[in-house]
Amino acid sequence: MKDGEDQASDKQLVVRVQKGDKRAFDLLVIKYQFKVQAIVSRFVWDRDELADVTQEAFIKAYRAIPNFRGESQFYTWLYRIAVNSAKNYVVARGRRPPESDIDAADAEQWVGSDQMRDLETPESQLFCQELEHAVRQVIADLPEDLRTAVTLREYHDLSYDEIADIMKCPTGTVRSRLFRAREVIDAEVLRVMSGK
């Protein structure tokens, strides 16, 4: 996970939510819904239960967001809320929650239990493999300047200023190149998603 940029991006959106802008929370929901589902799926294995707990976690996060002071990353904070929501749900139904917790940073890469794999349909697994392959192919085919910019950004977690220094170009050019690279990648993601 790209900690620095995600933190800055999340902070901007969190501040807007704290000032009363619910639209900013919509962006956070879209950004993190699959990651929260991955965490919650460690505790509940039914799709309907997974949906309920995920929704509850986001609503709890929204209610508690005025108290979020940015001392930790938003995702770490959201992760704790999701884990607590899932544990409470499991205990309320007389089941035992898992004894060991997973770290927030490892949660995304967590492979999961057999029950979780039940939630992963063959179609979703195939979709992920196909998407990863397609995106890597598109990046390899990008023009040199776009590929360098997106690689420094996504793989090396560099800021716009740092990329500008390396590529010896204005920061605005970096911003523009990253957008153009993302547009090409986005077109490929859209193609895979639509099954064409």
């Binding site: 940029e5 933190q7 929370f25 879209i30 949906a51 992920c128 998407l131 890597r136």
Partner: protein, 221 residues
């Protein structure tokens, strides 16, 4: 693709990288509530999917619940943050400091009022006051309630120095008068007393004799 959509996409890309300025943020949020809402949210989702795919971090469970969650959040009350956190923090710290200072002042005042000597003295005076008011002079026939049209003066309110009889004693330094002069003054006084006693007292026949204490001590005789 129109120039407007390009500008919006670039703002979305910058927001994703944490490099968005206020204008980018305004542009994105303003368009979310308009007719482009679905398009913007879908693009935002795809941008993140593309980023996760590049790094091989795509979550395999992908139930799109965004519409459901945002709809539920829509029913929640809107947060309002009237003042900036920094100002509130400073205000809070000032309030705490003021409270502590006030408590300290009140505490010191109470402590001064609880001077043990003054409390004991006040208790003694109260007991004396009770004694006065319950004595025979203050006992009246049943049913008789005297009307005392006088202003009560509380002795407890008087200063300690006003209650305790005192006499100013002029302190004279010992070295101001030499010992010889003092002894002469005492001898003169004793002689005067002897003369006076001889004339006005029945014991005056006995002259004043300056005797040594050792001579009259029985054990030493």
């Amino acid at each position: 693709m129109t120039k407007q959509i390009d500008g919006l996409g670039e703002s979305l890309s910058a927001l994703m990288d944490g490099e968005a300025n206020e204008l980018d943020l305004q542009r994105v949020l303003k368009n979310i509530e308009g007719e482009k809402r679905e398009e913007i949210l879908a693009r935002w989702s795809r941008y993140h999917s593309g980023s996760e795919a590049m790094r091989g971090e795509l979550p395999t469970i992908r139930m799109d619940m965004a519409a459901l969650i945002t709809s539920a959040v829509e029913n929640e009350k809107t947060h309002r943050q009237a003042l900036s956190g920094g100002f509130l923090d400073i205000l809070g710290q000032f309030a705490v400091a003021a409270s502590v200072a006030m408590l300290a002042i009140v505490g010191v005042q109470n402590y001064n009022q609880l001077d043990p000597q003054q409390s004991m003295h006040s208790a003694a005076l109260d007991a004396y006051d009770v004694q006065l008011n319950t004595g025979p002079a203050m006992q009246f026939p049943s049913g008789f309630k005297p009307v005392i049209n006088a202003q009560k003066v509380s002795v407890g309110a008087l200063q300690r120095s006003q209650l305790v009889p005192s006499r100013e004693v002029e302190k004279v330094g010992a070295r101001e008068f030499p010992e010889q002069e003092i002894r002469g003054h005492i001898d003169k006084m004793m002689s005067k007393h002897n003369d006076h006693t001889a004339v006005h007292s029945a014991y005056g026949v006995l002259p004043f004799i300056d005797i040594n204490k050792e001579d009259v001590t029985p054990d030493r005789r």
